[in-house]
Amino acid sequence: MTAMLELRRVSKVYGSGPSRVQALCEVDLTVDGGELVAVMGPSGSGKSTLLTIAGSLEELSAGEVLVDGSALAGMTRNQRARLRRRLIGYVFQDFNLLAGLTAVENVALPLELDGLGQHAARAAGVAALDELGLADQADRFPDELSGGERQRIAIARAVVGDRRLLLADEPTGALDSVNGEAVMRLLRAACKRGVAGVVVTHDAQLASWADRVVFLRDGRAVDQTARPPGPESLLAPRPGR
């Protein structure tokens, strides 16, 4: 099975001289389709940098990143933009939706940017919202929605179409525990459909939704939990839930 995301000895350095900061240092990470990986670590450990590099938003200083088997290194800006439109979905902590576009327009935006007709994109957007139980919010603007609703719509946008890599940076950071768990459940459900997911979080309880947890410290992957034997293990009941 081809890994959906593969980071090979990835390093990232910001600045130079006295202001030089090593954000990532020779990090290796492989995420398969259907797998949800949580990345944990203290502030400044390089979690967000790892995510932006994995999502082709930022250049790496050394190493190699492959998304669905394609190396990002040789891609132009436009090729990387196309990759983000077609394969990669992002969920940020806040400010996920574009003001001025309705919920369904936000969800359909990557498809429209990729050339899909407005009506077809809207239909796909409505379907994505429907799967998350948000179809009745389709024509509302972001500032008319609650924080939890906005984040769920962001997830809908991240998985709409044929996205196969979902990257979430503290997606529950601005939510209460109930909404936080709902968001994690949606991420989990998306991964069950075959999407590879990477979620950055500070919350160990939310990280427990993941198949695997990677710990970062000072830009290095210092530990990670074992890969589970199979997806069926996810169905096992967890204490307190």
């Binding site: 932006t52 930022e58 940020f92 935006l109």
Partner: protein, 705 residues
Amino acid sequence: MTARRAVVRWAWRLFRREWRQQLLVLALLTLAVAATIFGVSATYNLVPSADARFGTATHRLELDRADRRGLDAQVAAVRAWFGTVDVIGRRAVPVPGSVEPLELRTQDPQGAYGRPMLALRAGRWPSAAGEVAVTDAVAATLQTQVGGTVALDRRARTVVGVVENPGDLEDEFALVARAHADPPTAVTVLVRATAERAAALPADAGGRLEARPACHGAVLCATATQSERATAAAGALALATVVLLLVALIAAAGFVVVAQRRLRQLGMLAAVGATSRHLRLVLLANGATVGAVAAVAGTATGLVAWLAVGGRLEPLAGHRIDRLQLPWWLIGATMVLAVVTATAAAWWPARTVARIPVTVALSARPPRPKPAHRSALAAGLLLVIGVASLAAGIDSVHDRANPLLVIAGTMAIVLAIPLGSPLAIRAAAAAAGRSPVGIRLALRDLARHRARSGAALAAISLGLAIPIAIVIAATAAEHTAGEGNLSDRQLLFRIGDAEPLVPEPPPAELERLGSEVDWFAATLDQPAVIALQVAVNPADREGRNGQILRPAVVLGRQVSEHTVRDVGVLYLATPELLGSLGLDPATIDPRADVLTGQTGELRFANLSGPGTPPTVQPIQLPAYTSAPTSLVTSNGLRRHGWQPRPAGWLVAARTPLTGAQVARARQVAADAGMTVEARDHQAQLTAIRTGATATGLLLALGSWP
């Protein structure tokens, strides 16, 4: 295409939500478009049409003969040569109480070519003997109206209508029916022919043939001089383009601010897969939207203003104005120009924003400020170039300007403002070291977000610079007490109008006018009344409405190789005038032709043939432009073979004249058939300054949220 449509839709939605953030740019662009539309419409309609003198004819032949038979023979010869002609008869008749005679005109209202030269405003056309139609000014002079009776040419006539020449509202005449008119003393024949045919007119037809200005080729002209009007309006548009360029610089600074405000949203758009082209398109679409909204709002405002005010410009234009006759293609071009200008202004901010890394955009961290000293150096250089260009381009001594240098200088100074803004922000932040914490935080925040605050400062500075420049220009143009046309204690009564053309009234008429002036002056506080004479060349004369006018010799200043600009009529230095000006006749150099305070290369002007430079004796007098401050000496008069002619009276009171006194003077002058000039208090400059100040205040207080 789908992607572009989605991006443009988002840009439009953002504009609808956040248009208030762009109010300054919108307001300035709307104002510029409105002013351009109004200016283009006004220029197009203010250009005098050749219809006023030619109707729909291509040529106009003036026949001036005393004997009727000779005149009839000439008209017959012209008709035989051209075929269809339109004949307008003229006859000058004296008017009681006026130095200017009245023209009795015979013209067919349905004539082949003269129809645009004649319109009925009230009543009906005269058709019988003893009937006349008059223009409104003639009706006022004769104190009559439709249904009244006037005595003209020793004959009582009933006024049956009010007429006018729509193309020339100053064309005053009385219209009589041709069949019952007395023989004309002059005839105008309107013809329509090719230039070759007109040039081949046999010499024995006589008269002076004048071609319609726009009809230089062999092709017949269509109707009015549309091309001249369009050319003038296009000139106004060209001028407006320069203003729009200035506004574009302000808009560019404004769009930088908008781009910085939307940085995070643009980062989000990039994160979901937008390319650099999509990101650029967001801001370009915003610029185009701002331009389109300003174009529509400005055009509507300009057109409404024109429709409201256009009719009132008829006295200024001197002809009737059809307010709906507008250069629509130029108006369309103005709208397109506004959209293009705003879109072009958004280009640079769009390009810059599209290059910002996605993660930097998403973090909404201010970009690292570029070193301010480089842009400050460029700003300083541009400022020096701008000031030097303006100094070289404006010659205040000779009252002339080089438009290219003035435009280049203005543009350089305007460009210097945005380049110098970051340094100003940095200097303000540096000076905030010991300020209270609130001010310190605010100023340091400005410095941290220098890219945005510098652009905002530049936009506001440029926006305010326009009304400030208008206020300064209006103030500079305002006359001090020692400048202007006359002092506030003086009145200048003229025989005839303000042109340097003097009529030659009979002695009795001259005496009557003098006594009218004396009668008025007696109502003032210890006034001085000085009779004024001008110098005329006996060989020069001009005919107008059947009367002879003499061009007064004028003092001119050579401003270029082929251009002499008038600086004032030369009044005869009589002992009475010299005394009133505080000059001792004994101090006058017998070799001097002219006494004047004017400087430069002075010439005699308004003369036929080349004039010789005058021998000038400098004197110190207030620089009033209409007062007798340039004098020709008796010796100069004799040396050049000129003759003195009465021109009017200068009345000087001891105290400033009141509005009521000036109004009474105008009434006396109008009743006597003279013109009178008082000090121009430049009320329009005050209105302009007030308007600009109010606009500046509005911009400063309310436009930048």
